[in-house]
Symmetry: C2
Subunit: 430 residues, 2 copies
């Protein structure tokens, strides 16, 4: 907080923006370039802006050495991210370098023989992959002179923003539907920022946030997933980087990635392509599979129907963190799944619960519902022949089961006994 008092209240940094290798923002649709700034839509065609880089000056060997000698968090990849070179010295939550678990027990259950891994992002500071993207957005907010970090959320994002803002001495203001479950409110409120309940549903919250950004009242505010979205989204690239480095600088053959907005999947693809282009991994094919819950499966439905566009759905699933009925990056996901020889599949809520239990029982990883979706979809893709079990496969778990305890609430005691050996034997436990 004291560290931030000298920062301007609005987005007008005193010095030129230093975001490391980030050179500009570029429109994903028309290629129009604009200088780095807190903007997210192309002024020419309204397409989404994304970060364009200048990676020149690195040989593959130098880069690999630099990365390997870096910290055990996402900042080891600072040369490939829109962050200043000294990012690791600034106050941030420093997510990443989470475990890539060799999942031999799960592989046996699923019949995978080519090597199965779970990338377990529940090890992040607030226990979801959102820490990666928020840490990234925070650095952009700092560069642009923002002093408030904000978002609309119904869960993981609220905690990630609250924690990162607290660490960095930013004000935080998180908007949620006013009638959210008490547990989720506590998880978001504990970091002490403003937590505003909006009388309405999540769509109302989002619409209000868009209004706020265009209003003087929102000046100096960095909405991580709106006006900082181009930077925020880049955080997902680090999943691709870590997976390859943890495999010994090898590309996996297949990845199974959850789809909410679809941004994570597209950025993982971007990250893999960058590693190939930079010579850090061999140039060989990989397949990306998208995973949805049946109760919110607009991308899966479009994939199966052979459509290029995604028809919005009204979500109804226990996988709340994936429940985006109109995913902004849906068309890009379809393109990547088709281009790489992957697929998009969905599973029912009971299948999600089964998969959460399967992962916990075989690998000791307690995933949130989104992890149940990816594991369940992996099983289904093997059954229907779309995923090759003889190839190296990485499945993402992006969140923590402690946040979605209700999904497995039926789990309980296997026996109740009196505290005696006789009772123990009678129960057949000896």
């Amino acid at each position: 907080m004291a560290a931030q008092t000298s920062a301007p209240a609005t987005a007008s940094p005193a010095s030129p923006v230093d975001l490391g290798p980030a050179a500009a923002l570029s429109c994903r649709e028309c290629g129009h370039r604009v200088p780095l700034g807190p903007v997210f839509a192309c002024e020419e065609c309204f397409g989404p802006l994304e970060v364009a880089y200048d990676f020149s000056g690195w040989s593959a060997d130098e880069l690999r050495k630099r990365i390997e000698s870096g910290p055990a968090n996402i900042w080891r990849y600072a040369p490939l991210l829109p962050v200043p070179a000294d990012v690791a010295d600034k106050p941030n939550i420093n997510p990443g370098w989470t475990q890539l678990v060799r999942a031999d027990n799960l592989a046996r259950e699923l019949g995978v023989t080519g090597g199965l891994y779970v990338k377990d992002d529940s090890g992040n500071p607030t226990h979801s992959f959102k820490d990666r993207v928020v840490a990234q957005a925070l650095e952009a907010a700092r560069a642009f002179g923002f002093t408030t970090l904000s978002c609309s959320s119904t869960g993981n994002l609220a905690g990630a923003v609250g924690a990162a803002a607290a660490r960095a001495g930013f004000r935080s203001c998180v908007f949620i539907p006013h009638d959210l479950e008490q547990g989720k409110v506590v998880m978001a409120a504990v970091y002490g920022g403003e937590l505003i309940g909006i009388e309405g549903n999540y769509d109302d919250v989002n619409r209000f946030c868009s209004e706020l950004i265009g209003d003087p009242a929102g000046e100096g505010w960095g909405f991580v997933n709106v006006n900082l979205r181009p930077y925020y989204a880049e955080g997902s690239k680090t999943l691709a980087y870590e997976i390859c480095e943890q495999l010994g600088w090898r590309l996996p053959d297949q990845l199974v990635v959850p789809i909410a907005s679809g941004s994570q999947l597209t950025k993982i693809d971007k990250g893999l392509k960058e590693l190939i282009a930079l010579g850090l991994v061999e140039d060989k094919p990989y397949r990306i599979f998208g995973a949805q819950a049946e109760g919110c499966s607009p991308v899966s439905a479009a994939f199966k129907a052979g459509h290029d566009v995604v028809r919005p759905q009204k979500p109804d699933t226990i996988a709340k963190s994936l429940a985006i009925g109109n995913p902004a990056d849906g068309p890009y996901v379809l393109d990547i799944a088709r281009r790489t020889g992957g697929a998009v599949e969905d599973v029912t809520d009971p299948q999600i619960v089964d998969a959460i239990k399967l992962l916990a029982r075989t690998e000791g990883i307690f995933a949130e519902t989104a992890g149940g979706v990816t594991v369940g979809v992996t099983r289904k893709l093997i059954e229907n022949g779309l995923l090759d079990p003889t190839l190296t496969t990485v499945v993402l778990n992006t969140g923590d089961g402690l946040k979605t305890l209700d999904a497995v609430a039926g789990t309980g005691l296997t026996a109740t006994i009196r505290p005696t050996l006789d009772s123990f034997r009678e129960a057949g436990l000896a």
Copy 2:
């Protein structure tokens, strides 16, 4: 599971026990040595057994290099732990190398000028420091040919044992009081092992487990905190190792450690002394402070009264993970606190809650109640002049706030508004 079918059902390994540098078990009271095995009490004097090592053959430089090139988990310290040299290749939950957070915001609030750090063990696989000790016990269980991993627990330990057993393909059997809160039951049950409710309180559960160990029904069972306790306890040394390495191979001047049984504090002291003896850190004084909740403060009470023995208490505090009324290592803790110039202090439940919120608000770390105890005690020790704010201080957070949400259940929305800019302004948020 398949990997374990060839192991014997009882504790009689085919080959000599390979636990790396561990040479024997040695009685903490009388020094009597016995070979490595699943025993925990001295046959001569009933004192507690602990692992004795042979660290010869390492120069400080070689050892430092070996550690620094190791994995980002506790197995980087394999040369200093009772584990085989190839431990990192075996299926285990691989905890550790958690963040040492430079807590400048908290330091300002507390008036610490010498550098304040929080060692945040909520980043472990099941989000508590128990993963460290269980991972260690699992390796001992494997070495002794056990096929079932067991414990009595009311919380963190149950999850750690369930997860580790699942990963390693062991059977697990966890004993809990039958009337535990449903949320805690779910967290323990999800890993799919046997979860046995005992009709009685935690003392009844413990007494039953002791009976089971002496009975044929318990043959082949490794109780992590009973017959594997000497190995289990060594896991806490890794906290000392990591803190020093993360400080750049420097000893902190002061550490604030929570006290449940007291084992963790004594092993942190052991770890620091080992680093000094091995020449990995400079030989200089450090002070260790113990932290308890007022509602379970037998060690704090003994410290203040100048006693050498600890008088048991009946626990009544929200800090359930520290609620051991008769701490086995209490006298050793008293000795260490006095020898190093530290102290033992306690805080009330409201102070614990305040400290949880303070840590979350200043550093974005959501601690369980035990973290509230250490932060609260740190504040109190500064106020009463026992902890020197001009010295480098490390405070331990050993668990995760998501597991003790009830402690901060009062936290909530700062405002509720309609989804309009007018409503936003009326609430004074602009």
